[in-house]
Symmetry: C2
Subunit: 150 residues, 2 copies
């Protein structure tokens, strides 16, 4: 990427012209629903990637944790996120920091999508999914239990 590439948002709200939209495959075994990902900046001279995720109305990202941290800026829509045992309402331009090894999940509202930027270090570990025991511990909180219902 050696040119001052200008990507403009496309006609469909949260997507950019000329940036591939990765749609996750959905089946009964998946732990997310209606999520797309676009890698906006991925440059060997930058030590982080900047990605854009969009969760469709009523959809949610995977409940996961990892050693690397997320720096999130909401761009559009509304929803909530779980970070540890905290549930946060989300609106455009809200900033969310997901600390290391902290369970997290993003949910769009039922009425509109939730689109957000997520900065991550380029060198990072793979996400971990909760084991049955960990899921049981998370569900001990009724608020968390209700959030991760799907």
């Amino acid at each position: 990427m050696n040119e001052p590439i200008l990507h403009r948002p496309g006609g469909t709200g949260g997507s950019w012209a000329n940036v591939a939209v990765l749609v996750y495959k959905q089946d009964d075994a998946t732990s997310f629903r209606d999520v797309t990902r676009q890698v906006l900046f991925d440059d060997p001279l930058l030590d982080c990637q900047l990605r854009y995720f969009e969760v469709g109305p009523g959809g949610h990202s995977t409940l996961e944790r990892h050693a690397h941290v997320h720096a999130v800026v909401v761009l559009r829509g509304s929803g909530q996120c779980l970070v540890g045992d905290t549930i946060l309402d989300l609106a455009p331009h809200d900033l969310v920091h997901v600390p290391s090894m902290t369970w997290h999940q993003f949910r769009a509202s039922l009425e509109e999508p939730l689109g957000f930027l997520c900065m991550v270090s380029a060198g990072r570990d793979k996400p971990q999914l909760p084991t049955a025991d960990e899921l049981a511990r998370l569900r001990e909180s009724s608020v968390v239990c209700e959030f991760i219902r799907a």
Copy 2:
């Protein structure tokens, strides 16, 4: 930063509650006008910083270059940027990549501010300002000359 800190935009458009706003000092010797900076994410576990710059109506950032690259996402307002010898019109959610060692400057329109996110590697070199010779070479293009007029 070990908490899922949620910063909400403040009442004044492009600023966040609880994030310090750095206003650059202006005098006759400065090469920028009406620019504020907020560091949104600066975490030792992240290899990049995410900053938010807002240029007031009619204002502009410093004309500079450096080895590190910029990954820019426009958040609000309108304006233009110079990247190398290219001038780009800017609107919300546009993406701009500023390559290494490339002269660049951001200008807000006369009518409204220009607010943008800028991702940079945490370890980075200091910006260079153009020498008189370099400025003369930049001004050989009438379009660039007009853009960097101030």
